[in-house]
């Protein structure tokens, strides 16, 4: 009983996290991979207007939708944060 009282916050948090993750995975299985706008278009029945391909991105690389670049940048940011934390104790 004491353990429940001490840890009830994290237990409730964990249960919610598991439930919503399971729900999200089921929804993802049903819909498949889609961007945010595509998801809304599919849900509401809007037919998206095709846009002409525009030149964008960082030095010719497209960050949006590129998981590898995204994780590389994320890893770089984590390294910078760890360095800043250790160096300056912020």
């Amino acid at each position: 009983m004491t353990a429940w009282k001490e840890h009830r916050g994290i237990i409730i948090f964990g249960i919610i996290a598991i439930i919503v993750l399971a729900g999200a995975l089921i929804a993802f299985k049903i819909t498949g991979p889609m961007g945010i706008e595509d998801r809304f278009h599919a849900a509401t029945g809007i037919i998206p207007v095709e846009e002409e391909d525009a030149e964008s991105g960082i030095a010719g690389f497209f960050l949006e939708g590129n998981a590898l670049l995204y994780f590389l940048i994320l890893a770089g940011l984590i390294v910078v944060c760890v360095f800043a934390y250790r160096q300056f104790r912020i």
């Binding site: 409730i12 996290a17 919503v20 999200a24 889609m34 809304f40 849900a43 029945g45 809007i46 995204y70």
Partner: protein
């Protein structure tokens, strides 16, 4: 997270005006409340400026999870600055987002209401559950989950009430599609809850006064 990603013209003009009027009324109440408080909240205004910048940046980052989603940080806004300043923060973020093509201009009113519900609910849960869940990390995390879920419900309510112009989907079909969006959004809420919990726990450790918590 909960944000109506539809173009201008999706809602009829009358609904666009209705959501703008409701949002402006709430913004007016927030401004009146701030004015009546005077200069008591100067520290919170500084924090509000920081969370506005952080949340705007986070809004624009597309996380390649479930096909692409973004976080809001709205529950963190509610926890750190409360619903009054949070209303103004939300307005600024939505206007700047619309300015760069993230959501239609006409939908700013509706999106302010969606995000404001997240701010208010997260704030209330975080403050109200203090005696039940003293641990900052889990309390902030749970407040984030509940806040974001309510934001999604408000989003669906607004879309169903307004109706989408020029589509043949029935209300049931739209509701089914939007329910799937809620489920996917809530998957991302796990990341947002973890992030918010860690930020709040860190702030609680170094500056508990910013959270309205007593110093240990």
């Amino acid at each position: 997270m909960a944000h109506i990603h539809l173009e201008d013209g999706s809602f009829s003009l009358s609904w666009v005006i209705i959501w703008w009027i409701v949002a402006l009324a709430l913004i007016g109440v927030a401004l009146w409340s701030l004015r009546s408080e005077g200069t008591k909240n100067q520290k919170r205004i500084t924090i509000a400026a920081f969370v506005t910048a952080a949340a705007f940046a986070v809004f624009q980052i597309n996380i390649p999870l479930f096909g692409g989603v973004h976080m809001n940080l709205t529950p963190l806004i509610g926890i750190l600055v409360g619903p009054v300043l949070g209303t103004l923060v939300i307005l600024v973020i939505n206007i700047l987002s619309a300015a760069i093509g993230h959501g239609g201009w006409g939908l700013v009113g509706a999106n302010v209401l969606v995000n404001l519900s997240e701010v208010i609910v997260a704030y209330l849960i975080f403050r109200g559950a203090k005696s039940i869940i003293p641990d900052l990390f889990s309390r902030a995390g749970i407040a984030t989950f509940v806040g974001l879920f309510c934001g999604n419900l408000v989003m669906v309510g607004i879309i169903l009430d307004s109706g989408i112009q020029g589509v043949t989907q029935s209300t049931g079909q739209v509701l089914t599609g939007l329910s799937l969006i809620i489920a996917v959004n809530m998957g991302v809420a796990v990341i947002e809850a973890l992030l918010t919990g860690l930020i709040v726990r860190y702030i609680g450790k170094i500056r508990p006064d910013l959270l309205g918590e007593a110093k240990p």
